[in-house]
Amino acid sequence: MKVQPSGFIGEKRAALVKLRDALCDQFDYASILAEDTVGRYYRVSRHSVSVSEGENARGFVVKALDGGRYAEYSFSELEEESIPGVVAAVRALLAAEVRPEGLEANTYAPPQEEPTVFADATEYEQDPAALDDGAVLDRLTALRDKGLAMDGAVLDFVAQATWNRYTKLFLSRDKDMTQSVLYTTGAVAAAAMKDQQVKQSYLPCSGLGGMELLAKMEDNVAPCVQTALDLLHSEPMIPGEYECICSPETTGMIVHEAFGHGVEMDMFVKDRAQAPQYLDKYVASPLVTMHDGASSAAQTATYFFDDEGTAAHDTVIIDKGVLKRGISDLQSALILGTEPTGNGRRESFARKAYTRMTNTWFEPGQDKLEDMIASVKYGMYLECPSSGMEDPKNWGIQCMVNIAREIKDGKLTGRIFSPVVLTGYVPDLLKSISAMSDGTELSGSGFCGKGHKEWVKVSDGGPYIKARIRLG
């Protein structure tokens, strides 16, 4: 079934068209993004139950260009009679004196847009809004009870699920685009305690669609509990460079944090990335082909057009080890003289658009996981990534994983190290990739920040990879 568009945006459409026309009469360029996002979040743990709203945003943002300068105005309410007030607010913002003496302003030419009329929606099997809150909590409670019953050492077991549905309408002089998207995420987490230290494992799942995802969570309960129990016997990591096998989630974190942020082209504009110096050069093993794009996969960052009205792309960033291109929002493309790639995204209508990743992943290779592990003389199997931080300028890596499992003579020994920090120089790591498994998995349970803010939904992943990585 197709996701139904928001009634609110439908009701406001006539006023928005009038506002668009009024803005276009006064300014060199103007666009409007209207957003209506609703969601629901469910969580059950040993001592707590909660139902709350998921992501939630309803409002509008106007972007206007006049005399070469851009300004944006985000607001919550719109009626036909308030249109002159919105236009006046935009006019006042363009004229506002916020710059002290000595600072200049960038100027832009208006973007050239192809006339486009578009409306579409993603699909789902089970409508979350039709599912009773009590029924969802019953299913999560059953998962929690199963997790808690598995071992007396389990301190807590959490089961959670969330769905989010949004409709966005983009209007400019030449574009009239509407999309409705629904995605769902879920996770189980187990905690166990020893000597004042709580060890936690976390297994997420996600998908473009509805609450059919809940069925996938059942299989994650037992491995999640087992991992938490294993972690009770973990040792501090012995620092060094190791031959590593990365799980698809860990590969995804490397793809996203270590390389993806470095090809966001608003960073090129600011001279904050090394990538422009490496275009058409080898930055990775010839085994590596990397994609990003809202249309490159069906996951939580899938959409039809971005928040600036650019159609979704499937961008091949690295082709067989060679860096081919970056990803871009509209304003950065205007400066760089490149084509925007459908990566202009906002946290919500109330925030600025930046170049942001969407679904970011490595293509699969031809190796079998068991052969990859068997090929390791001494090394680590890395899984359960927890966080990462970008460094586009210096191409440094910071990724944290919860578990490194020791591999000796091609076999897992059962010895575990935790927590583990991955560091190093991005091209060194990517060039060291010597094997890739024959399947790719994407996970979209997390959000991505730009620096330390501006959270947007993303997914990432890839195959199992074998690489040399510095661990600490």
Binding site: S45, E53, S76, V198, M389, G472
Partner: protein, 423 residues
């Protein structure tokens, strides 16, 4: 507000908290010294939390859920949203607890200095201070984002609360770049609730100096165990372990073993004993009750378990509201003594993190100074992987002070015996 309360009464909701937040944000985005974009966000959000008492298996329960009432919603839409929350609350089977009483009080204006001026005037002054130190050719501000915000908050509850207050603040981030001898950058944030041009200029001066040092750093430290000195925001992040572990939710759910009167810092303390205070960052709690500063630790001993109404009631402690900011008295050791060799003084990380569950802290080193053999060498790369459970008995705090949005305390802390992975 009246429409919401009326709809709640129609639904039979007797216990609720309504929070209304109006934000007017003026924003400026700079690339080098050029203004790239000016933004304004004028938004309102009303969140309604409903509480529903019921019985389950003979036990008294109090469920809750929330709905957002958005601008432009019709009365019918408001009723539907609230009914959805009221319906969901009956399935949220948490043991009953009393809701804290609120107070009624006149609106509190922000008298911190920003409050009396327009956002545009304040923005211009902050921008001037931010760029005032950007005068060199070799090291400069690469880009900056400045958010000047006026936030009006009102809380109304069924438990007698009706309070409102204004808060005006500036939050910003900037990136410094140095092109020689290698092209590098460093990232920085600032937040002030009153005009502080001299403090901002001093922070930018320091940031530019550190960026020049980063450009000279070429190698990672050698793998080993170090006396680690952390400074500025990293000290607050390290000490957030004690804030998180003394939270009533963490304690009730047994994620934290802390008890009032316990030696939270451990029994074997060879270094400085830790005293910390919780600092209120809003005048009222989420329930509209007055919120003030409280002692957290005194000489390592836990004095307050803090948190919301539910877990506070379960533990039998006063619900204090939620805290994130701390004050810490400065130590007695001057910086030059704190950094006496051998030690690794880490001033910048990719993302320094503290895990309150395991006590592990660490991150990738962007810039550190290695003090050994009579020299101070800037280093970069590698990572810190420490445990506060191992290090808390051997912490020494600086005599110098550092203030940021959520931390006011010693500029630096020295922790002995921390693992560093490097060359």
């Amino acid at each position: 507000m009246e429409k919401i309360i009326s709809a709640l009464h129609e639904l039979g909701v007797e216990q609720y908290v309504i929070t209304e937040k109006h934000t007017d944000s003026l924003e400026a985005f700079y690339v080098k010294k050029n203004l790239d974009l000016t933004r304004r966000a004028d938004t309102t959000v009303r969140t309604v939390r409903v509480f529903r008492p019921f019985e389950k298996d003979g036990a008294k329960m109090l469920g809750d859920s929330e709905a957002t009432v958005r601008p432009g919603m019709s009365e019918e839409e408001i009723r539907t949203a609230l009914a959805g929350a009221w319906y969901a609350a009956q399935f949220v089977a948490n043991p009953w607890y009393p809701l804290p009483a609120g107070v009624k009080a006149p609106r509190r204006a922000d008298n911190g200095g920003f409050g009396s001026r327009s956002l545009a005037e304040s923005m211009k002054d902050v921008t001037e201070a931010l760029f005032a130190e950007d005068t060199a050719q070799d090291v400069f501000l690469n880009s900056a984002e400045i958010f000047m915000r006026r936030i009006e908050t009102r809380i109304v509850s069924s438990e007698n609360a009706d309070v409102s207050w204004e808060q005006v603040e500036v939050w910003g981030e900037y990136v410094c770049q140095c092109r020689t001898p290698q092209d590098v950058e460093t990232y920085h944030q600032f937040c002030y609730r009153e005009p502080s041009p001299e403090a901002l200029r001093a922070e930018v001066r320091h940031a530019l100096e550190m960026t020049k040092a980063r450009a000279r750093a070429v190698a990672a430290p050698k793998t080993g165990t170090y006396a680690l000195v952390l400074d500025r925001e990293q000290v607050g992040t390290l000490l957030s372990y004690y804030v998180d572990r003394s939270n009533s939710g963490m304690i009730y759910q047994k994620y934290s073993p802390f008890k009032l009167g316990d030696d939270a810092q451990g029994a074997d303390i060879a270094g400085d004993r830790l005293t910390m205070g919780l600092k209120a960052t809003a005048p009222y709690t989420d329930f509209g009750a007055p919120m003030g500063d409280r002692p957290l630790l005194e000489n390592g001993v836990l004095r307050t378990i803090h948190g919301g109404a539910r877990f506070g009631h379960y533990l039998g402690v006063e619900p204090t509201g939620n805290y994130r900011a701390v004050t810490v008295p400065v130590g007695t050791t001057p910086m030059d003594e704190l950094t006496k060799e051998p030690c690794l003084h880490a001033v910048s990380f990719s993302d320094f993190q503290m895990d309150p569950l395991s006590g592990h802290f660490g991150g990738e080193i962007r810039l550190a100074f290695l003090h050994e053999n009579g020299t101070v060498t800037p280093v970069t790369g590698g990572s810190v992987n420490g445990s506060i459970l191992d290090g808390q008995g051997h912490m020494t705090f600086s005599k110098e002070r550092f203030r940021s949005k959520d931390y006011d305390g010693p500029l630096a802390v020295r922790v002995e015996g921390v693992n560093v992975a490097g060359e």
